[in-house]
């Protein structure tokens, strides 16, 4: 690894930290500017009790003091504090609980997108302009252009409510099937198209023609030479894809009632659970930043021709 590459990586890490700090700051102040508060409920507590609760959670101090205390706790102790609404639970525990489900959902979706995307892309390239190619291209165009929440809602409507084949919520293992599919369709379609065009590109290369002329069996050409090289653009897509899956799962978890971190994130906002809003935002933002970072670095490692500056 050259010093230039190292410098680039360090610079990107610094940028990532800066990004996360900006996210924390903006979220903190915007969140507090929104009307309502964590202690509002249909049955109002007395003013004295409200004051006592505010003091308990340090919300009686000036906003700037709270902000710096929060930053300090995060940086020095990695302490997200207690949840206000889910009394007795720590934000980090709620996040870990949610992550268990969300990671399962996200990793499955990513794996399905990769496997099926590559296979379908290869098939489409090898059957160029054939029937299979046309069907695959129409479907992928549809999946790319339809937002996941539309696909998800349609799936719930048809497969769960009308036909009753799958549960409408993702609280069980079986219930995760539909959300995984809904979440994976769009990245899978992207990968299919990427694989197809890059495979077509590779199949036209001189070394493939040479291999064919030398009498190498077609299967060996495809798997031994063509596919391997046509996967380079796919790898660079993995980072953005994972970022897409993280943000996409926010919506999908709502549509399918999956008890993951995305759902915790949304309910923390409706409940004005300030520490939980901050905790989930930071975790999700960090995930996305890291994935983009990894993707950029991988990009450079995979293809040295790319200019880092």
């Amino acid at each position: 690894m050259s010093s230039k590459t190292l410098k680039y990586i360090l610079k990107r890490i610094a940028m990532a930290i800066l990004t996360i700090w900006i996210v924390i700051t903006v979220t903190f102040f915007v969140m507090r500017a929104v009307p309502g508060g964590p202690f509002l409920s249909e049955k109002a507590v007395s003013e004295a009790a409200q004051k006592a609760l505010e003091a308990k959670y340090g919300m009686d101090k000036p906003l700037m003091v709270q902000y710096f205390t929060y930053l300090k706790d995060i940086v020095t102790k990695f302490d997200f504090g207690p949840s206000i609404k889910l009394r007795g639970r720590m934000v980090i525990d709620v996040i870990i609980d949610g992550m268990r489900t969300s990671v399962k959902l996200g990793v499955c979706a990513a794996a399905i997108a990769l496997v099926f995307g590559v296979v379908l892309g290869a098939v489409a390239a090898l059957r160029r302009n054939g029937f299979a190619d046309k069907v695959i291209m129409v479907l992928t165009t549809a999946f790319i252009s339809m937002p996941s929440f539309i696909i998800g809602s349609l799936m719930v409507l048809i497969l769960s409510v009308k036909l009753g084949w799958f549960p409408a919520n993702g609280e069980t293992a079986k219930g995760l099937i539909l959300p995984v599919i809904a979440l994976s369709l769009s990245p899978m379609a992207n990968i299919t198209r990427l694989t197809r065009s890059s495979m077509l590109d590779v199949l036209g290369q001189d070394y493939i023609r040479t291999a064919r002329a030398k009498g190498v069996p077609p299967m060996k050409i495809i798997f031994g030479h063509a596919l391997k090289n046509s996967l380079i653009p796919v790898i660079t897509y993995v980072g953005p894809m994972l970022a897409y899956i993280v943000t996409g799962s926010l919506v999908i978890e709502q549509v399918f009632a999956v008890p993951g971190i995305g759902r915790a994130f949304v309910s923390s906002i409706t409940g004005r659970d300030y520490p939980l809003i901050m905790g989930t935002t930071i975790v999700l933002a960090t995930l996305i930043v890291i994935m983009n970072l990894v993707s950029d670095i991988l990009y450079k490692l995979v293809d040295p021709r790319i200019n880092l500056e």
């Binding site: 009307p35 309502g36 995760l176 790898i235």
Partner: protein, 606 residues
């Protein structure tokens, strides 16, 4: 480099597949924990001493003092035993029976009017970790629940106890004797003691802030112990064999599945996995009533769905020229006329569809009066109908005509179109929900038919609460559910300083409005106010109710308070709530109370 790429890619795929496979195998793997996924539900339901139910999604808290939700109350009522409990007598009627107390004693009135109750605990009461339960645990729990420091939503349930909130007059004189002093005799005191906020907790247990979030630290004293809690999935309660009344607990295990998706609940009910579900999709109600006539249950729930006016909203036409008392009385008359334009039968039959009852008073059906009759039937003192106006289907046309006549006194009416032309535009505020929206649309269209424009505005729940509480609205959706069977829980929320005084009585411009009258001289009180402020009238009568020890007089005062409240026209009751649930016909021994709590301990299946 290519090798590296291949390895990275292969690794990613293998990891992905491994994780993917993991998700399908975790369910069977988890079956040794009581918190299993859906697959294990069916066999569990088939055995007769275990029941799977779904009453709501993940509870915010299962600390009995902090809980303010109906589902949390159901769970804690199985896990804890207070001094009193809801139970069924031999005829199946609901009663309040002694639980940890040997009997529910009568109070002794002290010289200063306060009332002291002395309770003796049963022998052999234990916590689920084997320690003895003492009267001191009750005293500690009550003081904690009421305290300002805890700030529980239901802290005010201890308002009747002397010294509330921070000097609560409750003491354990020895390990088995609890002495508590109330400000005055309270008709619903025994019922309060059956409320989760009054359940005992132990000081060393709750010292750990997270005690109520994990089965290993959840020490309780009731019919069940918590043996599993997979967050967002299922809570398992297992019969506590050390419970003093264990002989009468027939259900060995209860799995409370956690879901807030009514469609999901229904499909699990239909395939027999869950034997009780506490919610159904609104649009399925007509079909379910037909398909499951014995299993679709509608029970009365003590609560009122209503529309709330901001009393400070100026609704008079710009050129009315009315001021002071006249203007205030005119506004009240107008609001009370608009109330009659709504067809409540249409709302409950066509929109809400859950067997709700059209309402004509704020204190709901289910609240009992001094003589044991229904309070709402005696409200309004009218012959021929209950409440403050006749909401029967036959009366609607006459109501409508009367309303138009009243409104004509204040607004320009175009006889040719049947429209009022100078009614100021209103905005109806509701929290985002399809159900509230449908009702808002009906209310708006009913007014539009006479030329009154009422726009709809929805806000997300927390913002909505804030807006409504601060009085930044003209007309808003509202609802109130009882916490105990006494009308005061619907009346004291409207005193000037109440945090639930959404109508803004006695606040803002209304603070100085002298337009309310109260004459209680016939009841022996030295109160006769003509055109006083809200604080001089309503706040006074609520104060009198709270200190009144004569039951008949107290209920008469509550009727007078409701009369005054309803005369403002700010409170527009639409319907009384019902509790809808589905119960499998194989389940016997189940009961629920008017607060919506469900009880499974005496259930059998077969």
């Amino acid at each position: 480099m290519k090798k590296l790429i291949c390895m990275v890619l292969a690794l990613a795929m293998v990891l992905g597949l491994a994780a993917c496979g993991g998700s399908t195998t975790t369910a069977p793997a988890a079956t040794n924990a009581p918190a299993a996924a859906g697959e294990t539900a069916a066999p569990a339901a088939a055995t007769s001493d275990s029941i799977n139910v779904c009453i709501a999604s993940e509870p915010d808290t299962l600390d009995p003092a902090l809980n303010s939700a109906v589902d949390g109350a159901t769970l804690t009522s199985h896990l804890f035993a207070g001094l009193a409990k809801w139970a069924q007598d031999a005829d199946g009627n609901l009663i309040i029976a002694p639980d940890c107390a040997t009997e529910l004693t009568e109070g002794v009135e002290n010289e200063d009017g306060t009332v002291t109750y002395t309770y003796t605990l049963r022998d052999g009461l234990k916590w689920s970790d084997g320690q003895d339960l003492t009267a001191g645990d009750f005293a500690f729990a009550w003081k904690r629940a009421a305290s300002t420091a805890l700030g529980a939503d239901y802290g005010y349930m201890f308002e009747v106890v002397k010294g509330y909130p921070d000097e609560l007059a409750v003491e354990a004189t020895d390990d088995k004797t609890l002495v508590v002093t109330l400000n005055n005799a309270v008709a619903y005191w025994n019922e309060l003691m059956a409320f989760p906020a009054y359940f005992p907790v132990r000081e060393d247990v709750v010292a750990n802030e997270g005690w109520a979030t994990d089965p290993s630290t959840y020490i309780s004293n009731g019919a069940y112990t918590m043996t599993g809690w997979t967050h967002n999935s299922v809570i398992t309660l297992t019969k506590n064999d050390d419970f003093y009344d264990a002989a009468n607990v027939t259900m060995k295990e209860i799995n409370f599945y956690l879901s807030d998706d009514a469609n999901n609940m229904l499909s699990n009910f239909k395939n027999g996995e869950w034997l009780l579900i506490d919610d159904v999709p609104t649009n399925e109600i007509p079909a379910l009533k037909e398909q499951y006539p014995d299993e679709f249950k509608v029970e009365g729930q003590i609560g009122t769905y209503y529309v709330c006016w901001n009393i400070n909203e100026d609704i008079l036409p710009a050129d009315s020229g009315l001021t002071g008392v006249e203007a205030e009385n005119a506004k009240a008359e107008i609001r009370n006329a608009i109330t009659l334009l709504y067809d409540r039968n249409y709302i409950v039959e066509e929109i809400a569809q859950g067997g709700q009852v059209p309402a004509s008073s704020f204190v709901p059906m289910g609240m009992t009066d001094a003589d044991g009759s229904q309070f709402y039937k005696n409200a309004g003192h009218n012959d021929g109908f209950d409440g403050y106006y006749d909401v029967s289907e036959d009366a609607y046309e006459a109501n409508y005509e009367a309303a138009i006549e009243t409104l004509k006194k204040y607004y320009t009416y175009d006889e040719s179109t049947g429209m009022f032309t100078n009614f100021p535009t209103l905005t109806y505020l509701y929290n985002t929900s399809e159900g509230h929206k449908a009702i808002g649309e009906y209310l708006s269209s009913a007014l539009a038919s006479v030329g009154i424009t009422m726009n709809l505005e929805n806000q997300e729940w927390n913002t909505f609460l804030n807006t409504r509480k601060n009085g930044d609205y003209s007309v808003a959706r509202n609802g109130w559910l009882a916490d105990y069977n006494d009308p005061i829980s619907f009346l004291d929320m409207w005193v000037t300083g109440s945090g639930n005084n959404d109508a803004q009585f006695g606040k803002g411009a209304n603070k100085d409005v002298k337009a309310y009258s109260l004459d209680l001289s016939d009841l022996g009180y030295d109160v006769n106010v003509v055109n006083g402020t809200w604080a001089e009238t309503y706040d006074v009568i609520i104060g009198l109710i709270k200190s009144c020890t004569d039951t008949a007089k107290r209920y008469e005062l509550m009727h007078r308070a409701e009369d005054l409240l309803m005369s403002t026209g700010c409170i527009v009751p639409l319907y009384f709530y019902t509790d809808i649930y589905m119960l499998d016909s194989s389940v016997h021994g189940f009961f629920s109370n008017p607060l919506g709590y469900k009880y499974f301990m005496n259930c059998t299946i077969g």
